[in-house]
Each structure stands twice: as C-alpha cells, then as structure tokens.
C-alpha cells in the first residue's frame, strides 16, 4: 500500500497535507509550549492547561458577539487567561503540599474538571461557533508547488512563528524573562539574587495561560467551541512536549509540529489505520523515541550519581 502511494506520488497533495499538518501541529506546539513554561518552573504537568485555553475561547466568543473585533477579543481573552491562571497559581497551587506528587495531580484534575464545566455554568451548555481571524473564503489561498495553501491554515503556522519570536525576545532580552529562566533553574538562588520567586511563578502560569488561550481561539473556528474542544489537542500537546523534552521550549515546538505532520500523513497515506488509531500510532512512535532517549529529543537527561 505504501508502495502504491509512492508510485502515484502527487507533489501538490503532499504539500497540502504538509501544510494542514503544520497548521494543526502549530496548535499542538503552542499548547506544548505552555505546558513546558509551567513544567520548567514547577516540575508539574498542568492538566488544566487546555481547559484554561477553552475558558479563554469562550471569553473571545462573548466579546466578538458583543461587537469587539476578533483580534482585540483574542488579546483581551489572553489577558483574562493570564490573570485567571496567575490567581490559580497563587490561591490553589502554591499552598498545596508538594511533598506528595499525587496531591498536585489531584488538584490539577480538580481544576481540569472544574474549569471544563465552569463555562457551561456561565455560558450555558450549547456549543458555539467562533469567527476565524484569517480570511476563510474559498478563494483565500495562494499556490505553492501547485498546491492550494489556504490562509486560514497557513496563518496559524505564521502566528506560531511570531509567537516564538516574541517568546525569544521575552526570555532573552527582558528582566522578567531572565528571572523566569533563573527561577526555573534554581528557585533558592533566584530568591538570593532578589527575585520575588512567587511573582515569577505567577507570571509563568499567566504566560502559559495566555498562550493556551491563543491556541484555543485559533482552533475553535474550525473545530467548534464546546466542552470537548481542548481534550484531544491537550493529549497531543502533552505527547508533543514529551517527545521534545518537557523542559525544552524548542522541543515543544519541534514535537508539536512533528506530531501534527505525522498525523496528517498517517491519515493521508495509511488510510487503513482509520481515524481512531492515529493518536495511538503517534504514541507508539513517541514511546520508541522515549525508550532511546528517556528525556525526550531536546530535553536534558540528568545523570544520577549514587
């Protein structure tokens, strides 16, 4: 079957699938980035990360319905997500006993369930639609190697690149970014150099939330805004972050894009596997990678001495 598709290789179809994969992969990459931002500073995987994004997407929907332009709504929702997550860090996560890792997991699951259901408490249980920030007309594409590249997909990938540029600037050329890297590396020493570790952690959670909100707001126009929106992408993003290495932002992006493209190619070129098995196949591939490199592709593997 692989052979058949190789013989009838269609270049433009390949490019189209590639771009589709990159678009979905960009969403995974953004979510994976927000997981990495929190993991680096706290060593915890935030199970509620996707749901915070979902909450933000509902804020976007409310704002656009009341006439705020799409871009403005997203920016405001990102700010709302930032404040929400920073408060969660301060009020819920920080006072929890960290000696028992299971406890933090339970709190995160509590957050996951609570926030997932909170929106139907506030906005009602019905699904909504969200307008795309990119042109979505049938003609809004350009051609690349004969393939039609639609702006509503390619735009998401471009936004990921912009986001990466901004994050790079933040981490490498601002004092806050320096403090975030320092706190992620050694909290005690960060305190000794006068950094307010608690505030830095709150900023980290807030930043991660803002990124998740962006991801959810970009995904919702094509996937529909409902309680289940972020569930699949969150799983893919955690898989992507694991593949790349949970403490590596570059790894998160490479992992996310790889997973997105892999998914598009499996669906496109190995149709007999069926839609349900795609995620499973991706996981098996990731498992193999992890068995070779237990810290992920770009993660730091710490050597343990006796």
């Amino acid at each position: 079957m692989m052979l058949a598709s190789m013989i009838a290789f269609d270049g433009s179809l390949f490019v189209e699938r590639m771009v589709n994969g990159l678009a979905e992969g960009s969403i995974f990459a953004m979510l994976a980035l927000s997981l990495v931002v929190v993991f680096r500073s706290t060593g915890q995987l935030n199970f509620a990360q996707g749901e915070i994004g979902l909450f933000g997407a509902f804020v976007v929907s409310t704002l656009t319905l009341s006439g705020v332009p799409a871009w403005g709504s997203i920016l405001i929702a990102m700010a709302v997500g930032f404040v929400l997550a920073a408060s969660i860090e301060r009020v819920i996560i920080r006072p929890i006993e960290h000696r028992n890792p299971g406890t933090v997991v339970v709190a995160a699951i509590g957050l996951f369930l609570g926030i997932n259901q909170l929106h139907s408490l506030i906005w009602g249980p019905d699904a909504r639609s969200l307008p795309s920030v990119f042109p979505t007309g049938a003609d809004d594409f350009f051609r690349l190697f004969g393939a039609a590249i639609y702006w509503q997909r390619f735009g998401i990938f471009l936004l990921l690149l912009v986001l990466l540029g901004l994050l790079w600037l933040l981490f490498n050329h601002t004092k806050v970014g320096l403090a975030m890297r320092a706190v992620a590396n050694n909290q005690e020493s960060a305190g000794l150099t006068g950094m307010r570790v608690g505030s830095v952690l709150m900023i980290g959670w807030g930043l991660a939330a803002a990124i998740s909100v962006l991801a959810a707001a970009l995904l919702a126009p094509s996937a529909g805004l409902s309680a289940a929106l972020m569930f699949g992408p969150f799983l893919s993003a955690s898989a992507a972050a694991t593949l790349g290495g949970l403490d590596s932002p570059i790894g998160a992006v490479v992992g996310g894009l790889t997973l997105g493209v892999l998914k598009a190619f499996i669906i496109g070129y190995i149709p007999f596997l069926g839609g349900d098995m795609v995620f499973t196949v991706s996981l098996v591939i990731i498992l193999v990678v992890l068995l070779v490199r237990p810290g992920g592709l770009f993660g730091s593997e710490r050597v343990e001495r006796v």
């Binding site: 819920i92 000696r99 028992n100 997991v105 699951i109 926030i115 909170l118 499973t280 992890l290």
Partner: protein
C-alpha cells in the same frame, strides 16, 4: 507540639493493644458491611458495590503508584481489558465465575508487557506513556481488526451473573445482594494479597525502589523483575475489578467512562483521596469518591444547572488536595496521633525505662 498538654499514649506495633485496635477497626468495617449487605436496598447497595469494585481497582494501582512510586494514568485499560475478557468469555458460553481469574491473568500478562517501558522511564514520562495506553484502549476496541472479538461500538450485552445454586440468594430478586457479597469477597482477597506482598521482602524492595531507585539497585534489588512483576500484579487486580464491573453492569461497550481516560483518572483520584501507600486507603478513597461523585451529580441534576455537578466535584478535589494532602487516611492518622502514637516493635533491651522511642512518621 507547643499547644499539646497531654502526651499521646504510645502503642507498640504488634502489641496486644495494637492488635485490639486493629481488630476493633476491622470489626466495625465488617459489621458495617454485614449490616449493609443484609439490609441494603437495591440502589444503596448498588452504589456500595460500585465503590467496592472501584476499591479493588485502586488496590491494584496503589501497589504500583503508591508503593513502587510509578505513576500510572493508564489503569483504565486494564480495567477495560478485564471487563472485556469476562464479557467475551461469557458471550462464548463460559460460566461467569471462571472468567474472573482469566480476566486477571490476561491483565497480568499485558501489565507485565506495559511494565517493560517502565524500566527505562520514570515520573511524568511514564505517566504520559500510561496515559497514552488509556487513550489507545477505547480506540483499539473499535478498530476493525479486533471488532470481531469486541463487537466494535455495539459492545457485548446480557452478562447478568445470577446467583449460583449453592448460594442462599434467590435468583434475580437477590441479584444486587449476590453481586455485593461477590465483590466484597474479591476485595478482601485482593487486599489480603496486597498487604501480604507489602509486608514481604518484595514489598520492602518495592518501597526501596520508590524512595531511592539508585540506592535500591546498589543494595541488590533486582529492579527489572520487581517493577515488571508488580506492574503485572497491579494490572491483574484492576483487571479482576473490570470483570466484576462487567457483570454488575451486565454489558460492555467502548464508550463506558471507566474504560477511557476518565476511568484512569477516577482510579488515581480515588487512590489519592483515600491515602496513597496505605492499607485502608483504597476502600476509604473508593467509598469517598463514589459518594462525593454521586452527591455532586445529584446536586447538579436536582437543580438542573448544566455543569454544576462537575464544578462541585472539581472544587471538592482541590479542597481535598489542599487540606488532606495525604488523603482521608492521612487526615485520620494525624487526628489519631494526638491521642495515640504507634511505634515499631523494638528489639528487647535490658533497660526498658531508658529506651529511645522513634516516632511514627505518619
């Protein structure tokens, strides 16, 4: 210690007083179950049976996550595997009772295989791999190549396990009581196996692996065998729970919550709110989980507000994590420590008065 006026009474582990305490505790548990089993109405007993089945699954998870320190978010797959094994065999005409050991064995074998990556991965990475298992399992049930066996999305029905002749129960009318006693019996058996394992040499090796893997290896603990076999036994217990669940529900299908990631989370959450790495944790946690969940759900339904149940449940979990970090059992121990303190049995020494008493870390 500052506000404490009265010194707690010191009880030595294994002493007569300690034994009596344990007997009273177990006795009240047995009396409660007996009372429920004889009195229980259909709905109430059904809920308690659900809790006991969950407790069996939690006992399994507690072995690998509580005592060996490997976080698994994939035990729903073993639960589902056990349920489907029982369902498929019953569907092919097996007697119900014989399917349970097979369900446990199948889960054991798969558990050992899944335990293999655990040799190389730990912490959050292993958690994510097992999470993948939880996600993959329901997808696998629907997959064309195995749907001949699992009957795809339609599932397998009519699994009712009527009380056998030799029991004092009267057919369909006493079905709920029979399932209750069956589950309780299985739970006691599984608990006995688990607590004996933990007290044995294997148990000490497990705890050593959890607390300091490298040091355990240096001390000569064969990590590979410990990890894989314990993973297998853990899976077997959860698989048995799945088998019981299938006959209680009388059907299996891929969309059942406990077979999906939700189930893995349920088992994990029940373990933590009961108290990880404790003997009483699984049953306490499973009962708490079942009743809190039922409470949150009925609150939401009664008031007819969408999402209320989920929010209540989420808030309760956060409160538990905040105020009972070592679970309900941890909380009770802390309370008990104000009055009674148990200490390990010390070697007999000549001067009883001057013995140094090590404090109980719990």
């Amino acid at each position: 210690m500052a506000g404490l006026t009265q010194q707690p009474k010191i009880v030595e582990r294994g002493s007569t007083l300690h034994r009596i305490g344990q007997l009273v505790l177990f006795g009240s548990f047995a009396a409660f179950m007996l009372w429920k089993g004889i009195q229980g109405d259909r709905t109430g007993l059904g809920l308690l049976t659900d809790a006991i089945i969950l407790a069996i699954a939690v006992t399994g998870l507690n072995l690998i996550t509580g005592y060996t320190g490997q976080i698994s978010i994939g035990h729903s797959a073993f639960f589902g595997l056990g349920a489907y094994t029982t369902a498929i065999l019953v569907d092919r005409g097996w007697s119900h009772g014989w399917t349970f050991p097979v369900a446990a064995i199948v889960a054991f074998v798969v558990g050992c295989i899944v335990g293999l990556p655990a040799l190389r991965l730990k912490g959050i990475y292993l958690a994510l791999v097992t999470l993948g298992l939880a996600v993959a399992f329901p997808a696998l049930l629907n997959y064309d190549k195995v749907s001949g066996l699992t009957n795809g999305s339609l599932g397998i029905k009519d699994l009712t396990y009527l009380p056998p002749e030799w029991t004092p129960f009267d057919g369909r009318q006493d079905l709920h009581k029979w399932l209750f006693w069956l589950s309780l019996g299985c739970f006691l058996l599984v608990s006995l196996v688990a607590s004996n394992m933990i007290r044995s040499r294997v148990g000490r090796a497990m705890i050593a692996v959890r607390d300091n893997e490298t040091a355990a290896a240096v001390m000569g603990v064969d990590r590979a065998v410990i990890k894989t076999v314990v993973f297998g036994i853990s899976a077997a217990m959860t698989g048995l729970a799945g088998g019981l669940f299938a006959v209680k529900l009388t059907l299996v299908e891929p969309v059942i919550g406990l077979f999906t990631l939700l189930g893995a989370i349920t088992i994990l959450v029940a373990m933590v709110i009961g108290g990880t790495a404790s003997t009483w944790g699984p049953i306490v946690g499973a009962v708490l989980y079942t009743y809190i969940n039922d409470f949150a759900r009925t609150q939401g339904e009664q008031r007819d507000i969408a999402g209320l149940g989920g929010v209540i449940f989420g808030v309760l979990l956060i409160l538990i994590a905040r105020f009972a970090p070592f679970g309900a059992v941890g909380l009770l121990r802390k309370f008990r420590a104000r009055f009674v303190r148990t200490v390990p049995k010390l070697p007999v020494d000549t001067d009883q008065q001057n013995r140094v008493v090590a404090s109980d870390p719990a």
